[in-house]
Amino acid sequence: MALLELHNLKKYYATQKAVDDISFSVEPGTIFGLLGPNGAGKTTLLRMITGILYPDSGSILFKGEPFDAMKDVEQIGYMPEERGLYKKMKIGEHALYLAQLKGLEKNEALRLIKEWFIKLEMQSWWNKKVEDLSKGMSQKLQFVTTVLHDPKLIILDEPFSGLDPVNSNIIKEEIFKLAKRGATIIFSTHRMEQVEEICDQIVLVNKGQKILDGSVKEVKQQFKQNLFKIGLDSNTSLENSNVFEVIKENEDHSLIVKIQQGYTPNDVLLHYINQNIPIHSFQEILPSLNEIFIQLVEGTPAARQFQHIPA
């Protein structure tokens, strides 16, 4: 059973269809990527899932039952894109405060905070004030407060922005660990290389609508263009055959070819074998999510235009 199901969610603002009829479901234990260009409606979607906003229409099922913000909020950890903390508060107290708001008992919260602070090497921070933290440090604090109460569903909106590679990796490792322990993670970003690395499932939204849904593998297969990279011994005469078309010739004697409709990679290999040309390598080129992303949202103006929504 899916942990989270969205059915025909809609949320219209005065000048935008922020979320226009989006449905998808998230299986438990997966790391789920919510992708989309700026202004696609990701944040609005996430706000509805966390119960901050109510959808105009459609339904959200959490663990198979209609989502009840008051009841389910303690099983959700949400780290919004626009991060904020009380500047004047001490870090330990701040973490405790947010944990208690999530319904944790004081002693339990203290124990967990200490555990996490040790894990992320933040022990010495306890009595410092939030305003003393750098952007990356407050990011780490924010992450801790998001996952502290061991939520079933963790929603991270751009979790790595502002983090250096070392801290990025630490957080990434923790995300993997959380998923392994059974937490489901929805993770919104427009940095595709991270998605490829981390996510099992993705949904791509644009202009408030879902335009792609599936596992990373499936999506890549779906958008592959039958490109292959062939490493050859030396420069060989370029001849197009009806089997494939040479797209590009690299300096290291390798070729990028596109296999024509109706042929298989084996036909390409046969072509060279028959000519007695030695093949060093043969590799399928799958499109990167980045390319798919750009391909799909191409033509969308860089900034989303306002539209008139009749009431």
Binding site: A14, R47, T50, G51, I52, L53, A69, M70, V73, E74, I76, Y78, M79, P80, E82, R83, G84, L85, Y86, K87, K88, M89, Y97, L98, Q100, L101, K102, G103, K106, Q142, T145
Partner: protein
């Protein structure tokens, strides 16, 4: 623990622990007492003896012009404008040359201007002298008898007693009641502003900091708003309690430290101004009277109502301030233009209050102390005049009920604006848009 209670606790502690809170709470009453002390000290110190030379060749004033502690008169005919200063006189008084009882054309010539007090004293002395002259002249009696008769008449005292208090030994005092009303109403006015703006700032901070979104994913927006309002309200109450304790404490300590002679000097001063000579027995009588009148005020009622109207008025306005805070961004000008409609009624209330304190039973006072926009300030200014003699029980009841309904309404209204506003960034919403948020 209840989540709203958690928020209240944070809002409260984070403010009460601040150094500025501790400083302002302790320093304000000290400042208050200090200012009063300084004023008394300076006035006592500042009363100098002004020596006035009177050039009175015709003897118009000679018979009846009497000096006092602060102004003394010397009749010298050898002094004129060129040398009065060097001879140690601060002014020169020229009576008119013609007509023995002419009342105009008295001239006081000074090097630098005299204090208002001295000027008034001179005028009074001259008027008294002339008055005695005229009466003595026309009725042919001894001028000294006139003074005795006047003193006798001055002892008249009028006691205003309300019908309901006829049997009591207490006395009601209009001045006392109005100053208490003035003070308490002003306190409410100031605190409505200070704490209302504090709520607005807090909400704005949460919004621009983007922490609101984090919190709202754990609690309802309403809980966050109420937590903030109640937490800051508790800060206000704490401050009041500390002040009351401090002011009573410090002033009783101060009183025991003021040397007896200074006190006497002050009292002597007061008596002199009223024209009668200082007498110890009279001073004691005055203090006794003051105590009697102070005890005529129903203190538990005044303090109880003060706390009720502070809390009610605060809740009424704080909710509106919170709504404004949620609707604007960091732009201070946006905040200003949106707070204007909220601060307007508070200012109007103060104007009505100043009016109603002079006539606490006027229909303006009565009606505006029922309207929750004004009632905390206007009603508070009328209560010291007495319940039920000035403010009927039903008036007080209706006013209180209206205030409670009023703050429930503003809270409901603000919660709707707050819910939408706190998550909305960008330009300041128009009134029309905010009305739409309420209807949703």
């Amino acid at each position: 623990m209840n989540k709203t209670a958690l928020i209240i606790k944070r809002e409260y502690l984070s403010r009460v622990r601040k150094k500025t809170f501790i400083l302002s709470t302790i320093l304000t009453p000290l400042l208050f007492v200090g200012i009063i002390g300084t004023v008394i000290f300076v006035t006592v110190k500042n009363i100098r003896n002004e020596k006035i030379a009177v050039v009175d060749p015709n003897g118009i004033l000679k018979a009846n012009l009497e000096g006092s502690k602060s102004v003394s008169y010397d009749f010298r005919n050898d002094i004129d404008t060129s040398n009065f200063n060097t001879k140690g006189y601060s002014a020169l008084l020229y009576p008119p040359h013609t007509g023995i009882n002419q009342t105009n054309n008295f001239k006081v010539i000074t090097e630098k201007s005299l204090s208002r007090f001295a000027n008034d004293q001179i005028e009074k002395d001259i008027a008294r002298a002339l008055e005695n002259n005229i009466i003595a002249d026309s009725l042919k009696i001894d001028p000294r008898r006139i003074d005795d008769l006047k003193k006798q008449a001055e002892l008249t005292s009028v006691e205003s007693v309300k019908k309901g208090e006829l049997g009591n030994s207490t006395r009601s005092d209009f001045n006392l009641a109005s100053s208490i009303g003035y003070l308490t109403a002003f306190l409410i006015y100031i605190t409505l502003f200070v704490y209302g703006v504090m709520v607005m700032r807090g909400v704005m901070e949460e919004k621009t900091n983007r922490i609101a979104e984090v919190i709202i994913s754990s609690v309802k927006p309403f809980q966050l708003m109420m937590g903030k309002i109640l937490g800051i309200g508790a800060v206000g109450l704490t401050q009041f309690l500390i002040w009351i304790v401090l002011i009573f404490g410090i002033s009783s300590v101060m009183m025991s430290f003021i040397p007896a002679e200074v006190l006497q000097q002050v009292q002597a001063q007061g008596n002199q101004m009223s024209g009668s000579s200082a007498q110890t027995s009279e001073a004691i009588k005055t203090i006794a009277n003051a105590q009697l009148t102070l005890s005529s005020v129903n203190w538990p009622l005044v303090i109880g109502c003060f706390i009720f109207y502070f809390i009610g008025g605060y809740l009424f306005y704080a909710a509106l301030f919170a709504a404004v805070g949620s609707a604007v961004n960091e732009d201070a000008q946006d905040a200003q233009s949106l707070t204007f409609p909220i601060t307007m009624p508070i200012v109007i209330a103060i104007i009505i209050m100043i009016n109603s304190i002079n006539d606490p039973t006027s229909s303006l006072a009565k009606w505006s102390s029922i309207i929750p926009f004004f009632s905390p300030i206007v009603m508070m200014s009328r209560i010291p005049f007495g319940v039920p003699s000035t403010v009927a029980y039903w008036e007080l009841g209706v006013s209180m009920v209206c205030l409670v309904i009023g703050f429930l309404f503003t809270t409901w209204l603000s919660a709707k604006i707050y819910r939408t506003g706190i998550l909305l960034y960008g330009k300041k919403p128009s009134w029309k848009e905010m009305a739409k948020w309420i209807r949703r």
